[in-house]
Structures are given as C-alpha cells and as structure tokens.
C-alpha cells in the first residue's frame, strides 16, 4: 500500500510538483523495494521534460539507484 502511494505521489509530482518530489519517490522506492516502478518513474520524468536527443539523466539515475541498492536490500531488508 505504501509502495503504491509513493509511486502515485511520484507520478503526480512529475507533472505538478517540483522535481525533488519524483526524485525522492524514486530514492525511497529503490531503497526499500525491488522497485521497477522507480525506473518507470524516471522514464516518465524524462519523457515529459527532456527534448528528444537529450541524455535521460533521471532514467539512468533511477536504474542506477535501483541496482546500487540491491545488495543493501538483500542484506538488511526483509521486504523485497
């Protein structure tokens, strides 16, 4: 439930709110869960705001944090 709420806030925030809202949602989701929605949220932000041909930094960042947090999640957190 919390996971869905965070993702929803992230997606809505990508349209209406300052950029730190979806970025925080990506970080929290990626830290606590194997969150493919975090990568999807990164892609959503880039598709909305990045001109074609630009480097999709938010998507790359989301993919990076999802995979970088993987060892921490596996080691310390039960919710995966």
């Amino acid at each position: 439930m919390i996971r869905i709420l965070i993702a929803t806030v992230g997606f809505v925030g990508a349209i209406f709110l300052p950029v730190w809202v979806p970025i925080t949602a990506i970080l929290i989701s990626a830290f606590f869960w194997r969150a493919s929605e975090a990568m999807l949220l990164g892609l959503f932000v880039d598709f909305l705001w990045l001109p074609v041909g630009g480097v999709p930094w938010v998507t790359l960042g989301a993919v990076a944090v999802v995979w970088l947090f993987e060892p921490i999640r596996s080691e310390f957190l039960s919710r995966q």
């Binding site: 349209i15 209406f16 709110l17 999807l40 990164g42 001109p51 995979w67």
Partner: protein, 254 residues
C-alpha cells in the same frame, strides 16, 4: 529461489525500460509526444481544480496575504523590468543604428503555457502551440517586454517543449555592456558568469545574447568581487517571473 526470481524480474524491467527509451528515440519522440499530451490535459484539469479551491474562500486569509505579497513582488518586478527594458532598448537601438541593414520584422503569436514551470529537471516547459501553427524547432520564445526566455526544443502538431535560456547546466554566450561573458544556467531564469577584473558592470545592466541576435535575455542581479579579485562574478536573472508565466510570445523564424 524467490529472491532470484525477483531479481530476474527486475532485470527484465530494466531491459524493457531501455527498449521503450530506444523505440521512442528512434521514432523521433512518438511515445513522449503522446505522454505530453496526456500530461498537459492533466495539468489543465488540475490547475482549474486548484483555482476553484482558491476562489471558494476556504483558504481566504492565507490567500489574501499571499495575493498581497505577490502583488508587491510583481510591482517591484515590473519597475525593474521597465528600467531594464529601457536600457536594453537603448542599447539595442544603438546596435541597430550601427547595423541598420539587419533590422527585421519579427512575426509570431502568443501561446499559453500548458505545464508546470518548476517540475522539469531540465529547465523546460510546454506551450500550447505546435507545428500546425508554424512553430519550428529553434524558434525564440519571448516573455514580457521582449526578453528572450527560451527556445523551442521539441515540436509536435499542437504543443511544443521550450528549453529555457538559463536551463540548469547549460551555457550561453552573452555580453554585458559590450564585454563578452559565458553564463551558466542555474534554472528558474537565473545564470552566473565571470567577467574580467575591472569590467564596469552594475546591478540592473541588461545582458544580451549574440547567439540570439543580440536580444536581451536578462539583467545583472548581483555583482561580486572587489578590486583585489581576479574576476568579477555576476549573477544574472531574467526579469520575467517564470513562476507566474501564463502566456509567452513565440517568434516565427523569418
């Protein structure tokens, strides 16, 4: 076992993300165009709901204070804008006198802003005109009193994505009082740059961009560095209040 399966699912999701991104890039932005159209519809609906809540009087005391504060800010901004616009026009006039043969008539039209101006990490926003209206990639987007605020970065049939002049991390060649300076964008209509020591510059001086046809892009907001400093640091800001922008002027390419 379950752990391995979940990791595999994550790997598949990552591959799918890469695939969707590639398909969009190779199709010239087909997916993002559809997504932007949905987003601007959501933005329009959301804005009108918020406006109705504001008008309902539910937050009346807070709203009235905020309105008064906003009015005062706008008044100050307008006075600064007028002063800067006068200086910019004066300088532009001198420039045009010197090279009168390049004077051109700028054609264009007013376009509504159809997205948030603070949600983008790339200093972009959407406007409600597109290819069907004659907008082309690279067209200049102008705010109040002729200050350039951005360029068209992406065009779809009925909407366009504008990239701000001072988008975060971007650089733009500019000049202050005839001295060239490379400004780095900080987003929100702000930029920063370094002038050689001893350059005569003061707050309120207009900043022009040679790459945009010597058009005004901002004013000097703050000057840092004394006689002992190796250079003079200037903070430039656009006098156009990007937060409250609802319409812009798009200049059609000549």
């Amino acid at each position: 076992m379950n752990n391995r399966r979940q990791r595999k699912q994550l790997l598949i999701a990552t591959t799918l993300i890469a695939l969707v991104l590639s398909v969009d890039v190779f199709s010239g932005g087909a997916i993002r165009t559809s997504l932007r159209s949905l987003s601007s519809a959501a933005w329009g609906a959301g804005s009108s709901v918020l406006a109705r809540i504001g008008q309902s009087g539910f937050f009346s005391s807070r709203a009235s204070l905020a309105r008064e504060n906003q009015l005062l800010k706008e008044e100050i901004a307008m006075l600064q804008l007028r002063s800067a616009a006068y200086s910019a026009l004066k300088q532009e006039n001198e420039h045009l006198r010197a090279i009168v043969h390049i004077a051109q008539l700028k054609q264009g039209f007013t376009a509504p802003v159809i997205s948030s101006l603070r949600a983008s990490p790339y200093g972009t926003f959407m406007i409600g005109v597109g290819e069907a209206d004659g907008v082309a990639k690279g067209s200049l987007v102008v705010g109040g009193d002729g200050f350039v605020i951005g360029r068209i970065a992406d065009v779809s049939p009925h909407r366009s994505l504008v990239s701000e002049v001072f988008a975060p991390g971007t650089s733009i060649e500019s000049s202050v009082g005839g001295t060239p300076v490379l400004l780095t964008g900080r987003g929100g209509g702000n930029g920063v740059g370094n002038l050689p020591r001893g350059t005569s510059v003061s707050e309120g001086d207009p900043v022009l961009a040679p790459t945009l046809g010597q058009r005004a892009i901002g004013i000097v907001g703050r000057v840092e560095g004394g006689a002992a400093s190796a250079s003079t640091k200037i903070y430039v800001r656009s006098p156009v209040n990007l937060e409250s922008l609802s319409f812009v002027y798009v200049e059609l390419a000549p």
